[in-house]
């Protein structure tokens, strides 16, 4: 079986290289906010976006599981609790893929900074916690468009559970009841989130995320994020993301002309 990376048939390797180099010049930054529920990502994402705008960035946000095409399909199936871990994984991967091609990459190519409130690492952490093969899930999301920065919000399962349960009962899938077999959502959540947090910790180590101690105050976390962002380096598309961008141009041949 051939393992050649996909290349748009209408472009020669030289033309493709040139387009990616041109896009690199004008592209915006991709910044991902990752971590378990109750880690305070949304609060920090909003504060960060306001700050970024003040710094002159044209920033847009994309949220996990929000594709207008795929979300209605997922929502219906979640409501009747019919998704197996494999189906759950595939629906979220399809949702991500559609947003990647129709929201994230188009915005980046227009020079906008994209803040992802959860990125594909959420899929990796949750699917691995549900017992799916990590490497299979990683390949499913490939070729990966690597963000410039990934902020990882680290909390203990206890803190995550305390914050989430203060806002009400977690949903069936949020609590991982599909895999824990525990009928009490709160107990199931705490057990499932323990697994998810372990997966996040491994991902943070492997992919060198910028970890934020989410047990600290909102202000301290925000200061840490600004510092990590300012210290961070832009990740070269030619070096890291050429395959992902090539596949985007193959699936959307006119995208780079927009």
């Amino acid at each position: 079986m051939s393992s050649k990376p996909a290349r748009p048939a209408h472009l020669t390797p030289g033309e493709l290289k040139k387009i990616i180099a041109e896009l690199e010049q004008r592209r915006g930054l991709l910044i991902a906010f990752e971590g378990p529920d109750g880690a305070g990502k949304t609060t920090q994402r909003k504060l960060f976006r306001t700050w970024l705008k003040g710094e002159g960035h044209d920033a847009v946000t994309t949220k996990w599981n929000s594709s207008e095409l795929v979300k209605p399909l997922t929502r219906t199936r979640k409501s009747i609790r019919v998704l197996s871990p494999l189906e759950y994984c595939l629906f979220h991967a399809a949702d991500y893929r559609h947003r990647l091609e129709t929201e994230i990459l188009p915005a980046l190519c227009k020079g906008k900074t994209v803040i992802a409130d959860r990125y594909l690492f959420t899929g990796l952490a949750r699917d691995a916690a549900r017992g799916l093969d990590f490497h299979w899930v990683l390949r499913l999301y490939g070729p990966i468009l690597w963000p410039d920065v990934v902020f990882h919000f680290a909390v203990t399962p206890g803190t995550s559970a305390k914050r989430v349960l203060a806002g009400g009962v977690p949903s069936y899938y949020e609590a991982g009841q599909d895999v824990t077999g525990i009928s009490d959502p709160a107990a199931s959540y705490e057990q499932f989130m323990g697994r998810v947090i372990q997966e996040y910790a491994a991902l943070a180590l492997i992919f060198r995320f910028s970890t934020v101690d989410a047990e600290k105050s909102i202000y301290e976390q925000h200061r840490a994020i600004r510092r990590l962002f300012q210290e961070g380096e832009r990740r070269s598309w030619q070096e890291y993301n050429a395959r992902a961008v090539a596949e985007y141009l193959m699936c959307r041949p006119e995208a780079h002309n927009d």
């Binding site: 079986m1 051939s2 393992s3 050649k4 990376p5 996909a6 290349r7 748009p8 048939a9 209408h10 207008e68 095409l69 795929v70 209605p72 399909l73 219906t76 197996s84 494999l86 189906e87 595939l90 629906f91 991967a93 399809a94 893929r97 559609h98 091609e101 129709t102 299979w136 390949r139 499913l140 490939g142 596949e247 193959m250 699936c251 959307r252 041949p253 006119e254």
Partner: protein, 194 residues
């Protein structure tokens, strides 16, 4: 007296580039493949209704690419395996899956996706005992492809909305050629239905 477990069933794949006659061909193939007095059934595309639901609101959204649709095809297949195919096989039935994985893999190849990614995607699906290709007749080749008649038609009707480069008929022709190659190499056996 103890209950003996039924003999494991037989999974047969029927793949197609042109899906208009696929259901009748699947029933015909089931008739040929199942043992005398043996039990069997067919499993068809979109048993989970993903694509039916998608077609209802896809026009209001940015069109999905072949890659997005292939992931959704995998979700539909996972559903078919869980609710239709695997329980039937466990009961000793013969199951004709029409289509199965090869149609999706070749549709992805026709759209330019990596062969490695495509084969990885369907790693969860058990290998069929036998695989057939429904060779389209002249009438099927000449007919206007209707979007909901099968996965390749649906997929290419959506990608056609992305770019004129993805002309539905041309993509189906490319897929047809890929199937011919598979049949030529013996990977798929030809099935012709009058």
């Amino acid at each position: 007296m103890t209950d003996s477990a039924p003999a494991p069933g037989r999974l047969v794949a029927l793949e197609a580039s042109h899906s208009a006659d696929l259901r009748s061909a699947a029933r015909h193939l089931l008739h040929i493949c199942r043992a005398p007095k043996g039990r069997g059934g067919c499993s068809y595309w979109d048993a989970s209704s993903i694509f039916h639901e998608l077609s209802a609101h896809a026009k209001q959204c940015d069109p999905p690419s072949a890659k997005t649709l292939l992931i959704l095809y995998a979700a539909d297949l996972a559903f078919r395996l869980r609710w239709e195919i695997e329980p039937a096989l466990a009961e000793g039935y013969t199951v004709v899956a029409a289509p199965y994985t090869r149609t999706a893999v070749l549709a992805g190849k026709a759209a330019g996706l990596s062969s490695k990614w495509l084969s990885d995607l369907f790693e969860f699906a058990p290998a069929p005992k036998a695989s057939f290709w429904l060779e389209p007749g002249r009438a099927a080749l000449a007919a206007k492809p209707r979007a909901m008649s099968g996965f390749p038609e649906f997929c290419f009707s959506q990608t056609e909305r992305i770019s004129a480069r993805f002309d539905r008929r041309e993509m189906l022709e490319t897929l047809h050629e890929l199937f011919k190659k598979d049949a030529h190499t013996g990977r798929l056996r030809r099935l012709r239905v009058r």
